[in-house]
């Protein structure tokens, strides 16, 4: 489904040349759930950003269903993110001015749907993640676990094929983290997703189909 070839990301500063990723190759097949692990600063987040087209590599390609996403025009790249990708970040990154329902509706609003049309699927997903009673709550009124579940619902409301989660439980206590991961797992199978999950949590990593370790900018299967 998604393939990276010769992926290199280098930051040049006047003082130094920092290599984050070097000639990284990977291939994720449809339906796989892969844990990406590695020490802090190993380039896990950068890899996620590159796969999501939020950042550009110094060299190399990311192919989504055979198409190099960095060759896409900006509008098409945005469309790729909107239709095929769901992002979950370590911090929920919900929009504080909006309610839970509105936050989850946002990807569909961006797609051009009206408020009413967007709120149907958003409501269903919030109910699915157990927040049916929290639809109209402001983000600040929700607990950390609830916020992350809203973020998961938001990532999946547009029915993407690929879920990129960057330490989705990293900011939660172990019990809540596990519950949130449980939700991701369930949705992954229910919706036939392909998922990449960056994590430091070994139990979570163990719950995935495969574990990949990034070390010194390269991928090593753990």
């Amino acid at each position: 489904m998604i393939r990276a070839t010769h992926l290199t990301k280098v930051y040049e500063t006047p003082a130094a040349r920092i290599v984050i990723l070097e000639d990284l190759r990977l291939e994720v097949r449809e339906g796989q759930m892969i844990a990406v692990v590695g020490p802090s600063g190993a380039g896990k987040s950068t890899l996620m950003h590159l796969l999501g087209g939020l950042d550009r590599p110094t060299s190399g390609e990311v192919l989504f269903r055979g198409e190099n996403i960095f060759a896409l025009l900006p509008g098409r790249l945005a469309e790729y993110r909107n239709q095929h990708l769901g992002f979950v970040f370590q911090f929920h990154h919900l929009l504080p001015e909006f309610t839970a329902l509105e936050n989850v509706s946002m990807p569909l609003l961006i797609r051009g749907l009206g408020r009413e049309e967007a709120s149907g699927p958003a409501r269903d997903l919030l109910e699915r993640v157990g927040l049916g009673a929290r639809l109209d709550h402001q983000i600040g009124e929700l607990s950390g676990g609830e916020q992350q579940r809203v973020a998961i619902a938001r990532a999946l409301v547009g029915s993407p094929a690929l879920l990129l989660a960057d330490e989705p439980t990293g900011n939660l206590d172990p019990a809540t983290g596990e519950a949130v991961f449980g939700v991701i797992r369930e949705l992954h199978s229910e919706r036939g997703l392909t998922s990449l999950i960056v994590t430091h949590n070994e139990r979570i990593a163990a719950g995935c189909d495969k574990v990949w370790e990034i070390r010194e900018g390269r991928l090593a299967t753990a």
Binding site: L54, R81, F91, L95, R111, L113
Partner: protein
């Protein structure tokens, strides 16, 4: 990508986010305070501009009415060098009145004399009229404030109100008019003089006219000027539509015959109206600067908003928002600030101008300004121009911040927590 592909549907997301950002309470209260200050700035600028322009328009209208109350719309007079006056003036009046668009014509004879009573003497422009013809000018009839002109014949004079006051005369008094014409007398040449009864007073509101003019029957004016024939110096014509004066003036000159030329009120008073126009332009620019300063507030508001929302912008991009739509989110915010400020400003400015005019809230010294209060004249066209200008400036203010927002690197904004 969209269900129906319409561009307004695509804008829905931008409107929803922009309006929420403007409305929502924020952690940094200073941003929403600046939003309010930006709105107040635009409001103040627009209101000030509307009020200033309505004062200018009010003065122009007042001056125009007064000038036209006192003076003719089109005046026929002998061509320079042709000498003398207009002999067959009644015939010319008749021909002029047959022209479409002409209300009335009135022959007059102007002569400058010295007016004297027991206490004072003043130089005065005497306007000799044919009462029956002059009375048909509505502005003349309405300017008579004392006495009447029904019996305005023989040895009568009607003075301007200010002139009456300044020489301390009242209706019924006698005054003597002394001209530069010399009569021979047993004592040698003597200036020609006429003693007349004051039969009434007029007030046009134009200080200059009310202070320096007097009406007498045309025969008396002719005699004061030493003219024995029945002549007029001018034929003053009133039109149905003032603004037709430049079109009708040449036509009227033509019917008057070869010895006559015409002048119309616009060119006669061009200097003063040009001055008022210039004043209006200067006002537009200086007060318009308030709106420009207000637009700087919009720039600051949006720049702060972009900084505050950097992470949210990155998240919106990660969800597939295009850079164009991010840009529009901030353009919409600035334009909404501009529109709210403009609407409030127009409402406040026009309401203030309306009431200030209706209740004559700002008074003036009538001796100096020939009007006792500041006149305000509301203009829809001015409001539209000011409104459109303010909204355009608000839009321009969004260009820099919105570009900054759309140029944001999502990865950088997501990296810093």
């Amino acid at each position: 990508m969209t269900a129906d592909g319409c561009s307004l549907c695509l804008m829905r997301f931008e409107f929803i986010v922009a309006l929420r950002y403007l409305r929502a309470r924020r952690k940094q209260a200073v941003v929403s305070l600046i939003t309010i200050i930006s709105i107040i700035g635009v409001t103040a600028g627009v209101a000030a501009l509307v009020i200033a322009l309505s004062i200018n328009k009010g003065f122009v209208k007042d001056l125009r009415e007064k000038l036209l109350g006192a003076r003719a719309h089109v005046t026929l007079l002998p061509a320079p060098g042709s000498g003398g006056g207009i002999p067959d003036y009644l015939e010319v009046v008749e021909r002029a009145e047959a022209v479409e668009g002409v209300v009335s014509g009135s022959p007059v004879y102007y002569v400058t004399v010295l007016l004297r009573n027991s206490y004072y003497s003043e130089g005065v422009q005497v306007k000799g009229i044919v009462p029956g013809l002059e009375a048909r000018r509505p502005s003349f009839a309405s300017s008579i404030v004392e006495g009447g002109i029904e019996d305005f014949e023989g040895r009568q004079i009607t003075l301007g109100r200010e002139l009456m006051r300044s020489i301390g005369a009242v209706v019924g008094d006698r005054v003597e008019l002394i001209s530069a014409q010399l009569d021979s007398s047993p004592l040698g040449p003597q200036p020609h003089s006429e003693v007349l009864n004051i039969s009434g007073a007029f007030e046009t509101g134009l200080y200059d006219f009310d202070m320096n003019y007097a009406y007498v029957p045309i025969r008396i004016a002719q005699r004061l000027d030493g003219v024995r024939d029945d002549l007029a110096t001018h034929i003053e014509i009133e039109l149905e539509d003032l603004d037709q004066s430049d079109v009708l003036a040449p036509v009227l000159a033509g019917i008057g015959g070869p010895g006559l030329i015409s002048v119309e009120w616009k060119s006669q008073n061009a200097a003063i109206f040009e001055a008022l126009k210039l004043e209006r332009l200067v006002m537009f620019i200086t007060i318009g600067l308030i709106v420009i300063v207000a637009s700087l507030n919009i720039v600051v508001t949006l720049v702060m908003m972009v900084m505050e929302k950097a992470r949210d912008i990155a998240v919106l991009i990660s969800m597939g928002a295009t850079r164009d739509s991010i840009r529009r989110v901030f353009v919409i915010q600035g334009v909404v600030i501009g529109v709210i400020g403009t609407v409030l400003g127009l409402a406040i400015g026009n309401t203030a101008a309306y009431h200030a005019d209706k209740y004559r809230l700002v008074s003036l010294s009538a001796d100096v300004y020939s009007i006792a209060y500041v006149p305000f004249e509301i203009s829809l066209v001015d409001s539209l121009i000011v409104g459109a200008g303010a909204i355009l400036i608000s839009y321009l203010a969004t260009i820099y911040p919105s570009r900054r927002a759309s140029g944001l690197q999502p990865v950088e904004a997501l990296r810093y927590e």
